[in-house]
Symmetry: C2
Subunit: 370 residues, 2 copies
């Protein structure tokens, strides 16, 4: 039993690691000294203990249910973040092949993924939004993808620029690899449109330290035999994420978050609807501010996860951040590479937090608009 | 405030993830919903927030104090476990060089490290304890290490076999790389005898999910430029472990464990003394059992961390495990590759737990010795 009365929590708009569902944190807290029936903390038990193996299987099954993952896809829990996936994807799917990978660059993370791929094989840019400051994603038919392609790489949501693909690539494309780090579990995904989906957990799925990979079985078989042990998807798939000691605690939380999505939210369609409504509250303030707030993304490509915008000048942006912080609205500063304001409103950000921010924004604009 | 009265904890002899200090778990539990003065959980805050950067720096400073780490060594917090270090070490220090690495194999983990090294360059076996079942470590003068050596790799403690180097390699050897995963922080280390020391946290230093690397500055400069971003020590050193999002929660716990070692235990000399006393309690039972318990390691190479032994037959071993479990002495099963019994008695295993096990062992032997 824990008492919660004295804990003051802010509305935390961090882009990641990010807010987690309060009921999940409460369960973690309650079980921290000893898992029920176990006599030891989740932090202390072997990854091969029956208790942890049950937790691992439960987390996997809940992800399979939430995303309707077909049985010929593996669900892997890895370490090293999306950053290591930027390299593992081409190491496993590009090295030693005669076909190029093709990267669609819609923001900073897609660009970094591409920069790692060129170290491992022939990677080409299929589309690059750099000329308009990564303020949009392409329509699929705008991008030419020849059949001679090892894989196409996309970033479903760019956290820094705040642009998101509103839908999914055409079924007729070759293997598509998706970095879904920042919108994974925020909406349904037709998994079979993709060959591989990866997502670091620290946006919607859990804490930092675990990265979830969904990979189609035929692609697992492509891992080169001479790859370093940890870097081979095949090793992790064969050992069901127990090739070595995984990030046990982070996986436990992913399972609790998935349970929260199933039992408290009611699944990903519901979550998507809630996320659409939350984002609309903020974009409406932007659109009705007579240009005081200037959203970064083209309206058709606006992210439901990261709402990015500028104020008339940097002095006002600083004031905005300071005053927001004072109201308990924290971590709203834009990424250091682009500046401005970024409100990350992942699954676990309650609607009340978004309402509070929208009201603060309207109020701030009315006080400072000239 | 949390009430602890209803939590029943066992004595958990898991080889890793392993028992953590109870005061550390209690602090984690107390702060779990919101770090003091922060309004958000450690699980929810950005790795670039001032709160987390302070936690990261505190963890590093405490490790530097505990181990007297010279200032020309970097302290890195990485992901992927020792398993990824098995590959990163040769990728960074062997690839493209004309010198071989030399591996001293004293157990299963050293062998696995060697198997990864041969994928990356010329790795030679300098000594192999396989012919006697990895029951000992060599005296240093038994091993011939020519100056033409990229590095020498040792495993300071082998968790599966329960053998440990009682001291440290000669100062005149070339660069020594040490996998100290299972005895890191259990005793002082003359860090300057080594070029690189790595340790996954889940034995003595924290939970699974973070791996600590101490690396001398001149070695950081050897990382090849074409290495995948995450796999380059230089990138992590330049960015002070913030090359990408690190395992924030695991690092926070490493800091708390280091604080516990400093403030509750009184440093690593004291910890070493306590560990020697704990191990002696169990080895005495082995030695006085008239051969009922047969220790795996040669007495001069006995691990202070993992006490491994066999009973007269497997039926008795099963009974031993079942009855121990009933007494709240858990996770005593030997590694699946070697069988038998393994009692892991890391820093956080209280002396009372070891006393309870020693008494159980004496009692079991007196009941079953023929």
């Amino acid at each position: 039993m824990t008492t919660k009365t004295h804990v003051e929590r802010v509305y935390n708009f961090s882009a990641g690691p990010a807010v987690l569902p309060l009921p999940v944190l409460e369960q973690v807290q309650q079980e921290l000294l000893a898992l029920p029936g176990c006599g030891a903390s989740i932090l202390e038990i072997s990854h091969r203990s029956k208790q942890f193996v049950a937790i691992l299987e439960d987390a996997e099954q809940r992800l399979r249910q939430l995303l309707s993952i077909p049985s010929h896809y593996h669900v892997l829990f890895l370490q090293g973040g999306s950053r290591l996936q930027f390299s593992m994807v081409p190491m496993n799917l590009l090295r030693g092949r005669n076909l190029p990978a093709r990267y669609i660059l819609t923001g900073s993370w897609g660009r970094k993924a591409y920069e790692e791929a060129v170290r491992e094989g022939t990677a080409l840019v299929a589309w690059d939004g750099g000329s308009t400051g990564y303020d949009r994603v392409p329509a699929w038919q705008q991008v030419s993808i020849p059949p001679e392609t090892a894989y196409v790489h996309i970033t479903s949501n760019e956290t820094i620029q705040g642009v998101q693909f509103p839908d999914h690539p055409p079924a007729e494309w070759p293997v598509v690899v998706c970095d879904a780090s920042s919108d994974f579990l925020s909406r349904p995904i037709p998994v079979d449109r993709y060959g591989l989906i990866y997502a670091c957990a620290q946006k919607n799925a859990g804490p930092a330290g675990v990265t979830i990979v969904l990979i189609r079985d035929d692609l697992v078989q492509k891992s080169p035999d001479d790859l370093a042990g940890y870097l081979s998807y095949r090793n992790h798939a064969q050992e069901k994420s127990l090739f070595n000691t995984p990030a046990t605690f982070a996986i436990y939380i992913v399972g609790l978050v998935a349970k929260w999505l199933q039992e408290e939210i009611g699944g990903l369609e519901k979550m998507h609807q809630i996320n659409r409504e939350k984002a609309a509250l903020l974009y409406r303030v932007l659109d009705e501010s007579n240009g005081f707030y200037r959203g970064h993304a083209e309206p058709s490509c606006r992210s439901l996860m990261n709402v990015t915008f500028r104020l008339p000048d940097e002095t006002l942006e600083k004031q905005f951040l300071t005053q927001a912080e004072r109201e308990g609205l924290t971590s709203l500063k834009g990424h250091r590479s682009v500046g401005g304001i970024r409100a990350s409103i992942y699954n676990a950000m309650p609607r009340e937090g978004v309402v509070a921010l929208a009201e603060f924004m309207s109020d701030f604009a009315s006080r400072h608009a000239s």
